[in-house]
Amino acid sequence: MVESIIETNGLTRSYGDICALKPLDLQVPEGEWLSVMGHSGSGKSTLMNLVGGLDRPTAGSLRVGGEDLLALSEDGLARFRREFVGIIFQQHHMVPYLTAVENVMLAQYFHSVPDEAEARSALERVGLGHRLKNRPGELSGGEQQRVCIARAIINSPKLLLGDEPTGNLDHKSTVMVMELLKELRAEERFTVIMVTHNQDVAAWGDRTIYLDDGVLVREERMKS
């Protein structure tokens, strides 16, 4: 029996009168790739932010990797994000005046201590061994996302969150990024939660849940 890495019970997030996420019960087994689909404003990113410790719920319970996120202080949450979670956003959010390898080292720095050799090897692993010294502006969209993947996995997270990481990419780059993620997941055995609008991207996962107006309306298990 695979243990759940994420367990929510009545997880709710409201912003004033607006309830972005209505009471949600969800279990994600360790190592699963879960795709989250839904229209804009359906609560996908809210769910991801809560699970990643970027936001706090209004009500309900939330355990990630055995940690009760509601009980954690701000420092505790920061430590949780640092050591447990890797995040890839739609925008690359890299420091524009640092090179690719320096951007990866920045993630190492906030986690513990920088190690250039390890950062280089992470970039080589995502196929960017020839782009180490290039700044984000000198990289294509696909390459930028691959740097983001290297940055997200450099601290060996147990949970990788993707908030539409391929939203800005063409089909070819999307496939390349998804294949890379699949390969890395097989090696590192992390759990993936991928928020997407794209049915093809969602199909890379083991399971897809559909949110509508903050409510889980449907769940679909992919055929392997």
């Binding site: 050591e83 190492q108 986690h111 513990s112 201590v113 190690d115 390890e118 450099i154 601290n155 060996s156």
Partner: protein, 449 residues
């Protein structure tokens, strides 16, 4: 007023107990008990010594104890820097000893004894009776207990990361002891240290250069004397003293900085490897806090020594003249009371030449007349405080008991006669003695010993 004077000593003592508690984790009860006992023993023992021996002897004993502590710190700091070089030197038996209750108890007891001795030296020990002694035991015990209790409570609230290394702990204890003692003129260690350095530099340079320059050496020629004067200034003592004073704390700091990180090459996962390294680096950084604070206390001690808060009794010289028979007569109860135990300065002028001298009644009730200059230093004169006179030039403290005796940095004694109408001094002798003394000491430019 006495209680106010004791505040810095009590705070220093609290700091010592705090460092000891952190330095010997898991030995709280031993450290608390032995530090309290040591403190009381230090207070009572020193008090008993004051009862049995003259003050100078007791101050000498306490100063020697402080000197031994300072030497020990030197040894420990050298060992720490040597160990940090990682030459495979391990003192396993020492490390095992450090982690025992015996070691914790001994260090706490010794620190307590010295701190107690320093504390009692701050007090004017006037009541030397058995009753005074019997009051002192519970009083010192109560102070030590209160300090230990409060410190224990503080220590429990300190974060775990506030660690004290085995080398940082003795450094901090020594720094606090020396800080505490530096406010007491007769226990100050920095001024005598500076003086010794100055004397050593002068003697060494003198002997070495004289043998090398006379006659001219092939490489070292006598024109070098022009530059050697720099080594004869009194600043050489100050800066040399500072170097010796700060080196132990600096070495311990450096040793902490050079401390090797744990081996992590065998850990496969990079993040885990870096996490272990980051934790070790953080711990190492925290361990630098105590040596850094110690360094600050060494600075404070040197500052207290250099700029003592004690106000010296330094009266303006009274102008005196000689009688037709060539005698200077100063009445015992005239403009000033010569028998009040204070230093009274006078100025005599003949033929445009000044001679400064003072009259003082020592603790034994004997009057003494001395030049306001010694045979070694520039004639900057003397001040009086805390049972001593101090040479303003080299900051040497001279116990009142020895004023009137010749030699060293003592004021040059002048022959005089004590009669009913006052003190009689031969004017010619005085002016000649002053002239000879000042002439010889002024030969050395900005010179000293």
């Amino acid at each position: 007023m006495v209680a106010v004077k004791l505040i810095p000593h009590i705070l220093s003592w609290a700091g010592i107990v705090l460092v000891l508690l952190r330095g010997f984790p898991g030995r709280r009860s031993v450290v608390t008990l032995t530090s309290i006992s040591g403190f009381v023993i230090g207070v009572v023992g020193t008090f008993t010594l004051f009862r049995s021996f003259p003050g100078t002897v007791v101050f000498g004993i306490v100063t020697s104890a402080l000197g031994v502590v300072f030497l020990l710190i030197w040894g420990i700091s050298v060992a720490s820097i040597y160990r940090s070089t990682g030459r495979g030197v391990t003192f396993l038996w020492v490390e095992r000893l450090v982690n025992t209750s015996l070691c914790a108890g001994m260090v706490a007891a010794i620190a307590g004894v010295v701190a107690g001795a320093v504390g009692i030296c701050r007090l004017p020990v006037t009541d030397k009776t058995v009753l005074g002694l019997s009051l002192l035991v519970p009083a010192s015990g109560a102070v030590a207990y209160a300090v230990a209790y409060a410190t224990l409570a503080i220590e429990k609230r300190l974060p775990k990361s506030f660690a004290v290394s085995p080398y940082g702990m003795p450094t901090a204890v020594a720094a606090l002891l020396l800080f505490s003692s530096s406010s007491i003129l007769r226990l100050d260690l920095f001024s005598p240290l500076s003086m010794k350095v100055m004397k050593f530099a002068h003697d060494f340079v003198h002997q070495f250069m004289e043998s090398m320059l006379i006659p001219d050496h092939v490489f070292i020629q006598s024109y070098l004397w022009r530059y050697i004067g720099l080594l004869f200034g009194k600043e050489i003592g100050f800066w040399g003293g500072l170097f010796i004073w700060f080196t132990p704390a600096l070495l311990v700091l450096l040793a902490g900085q050079f401390e090797r990180l744990p081996p992590v090459a065998h850990i496969r996962q990079g993040a885990q490897r870096r996490k272990i390294l980051a934790a070790a680096i953080r711990e190492r950084r925290f361990r630098l806090v105590i040596p850094l604070i110690s360094l600050l206390f060494f600075v404070a001690a040197a500052y207290q020594s250099r700029f003592p808060s004690v106000e010296y009794w330094d009266p303006k010289p009274i102008v005196v003249t000689a009688t037709s028979s060539g005698e200077i007569i100063i009445p015992k109860k005239g403009e000033v009371d010569l028998e009040d135990g204070k230093l009274h300065k006078f100025l005599f002028n003949r033929g445009g030449k000044d001679a400064r001298f003072f009259v003082l009644m020592g603790p034994a009730g004997q009057l003494t007349v001395d030049l306001d200059a010694c045979a070694i230093c520039k004639p900057d004169g003397y001040g009086q405080a805390d049972g001593t006179v101090i040479c303003y030039y080299c900051k040497t403290l001279i116990p009142l008991e020895t004023v009137g005796k010749p030699g060293g940095c003592n004021p040059v004694p002048i022959t005089f006669a004590e009669k009913d109408d006052g003190v009689h001094i031969d004017a010619l002798t005085l002016i000649n003695e002053w002239g000879n003394t000042v002439q010889s000491t002024s030969k050395i430019k900005e010179g000293g010993k």
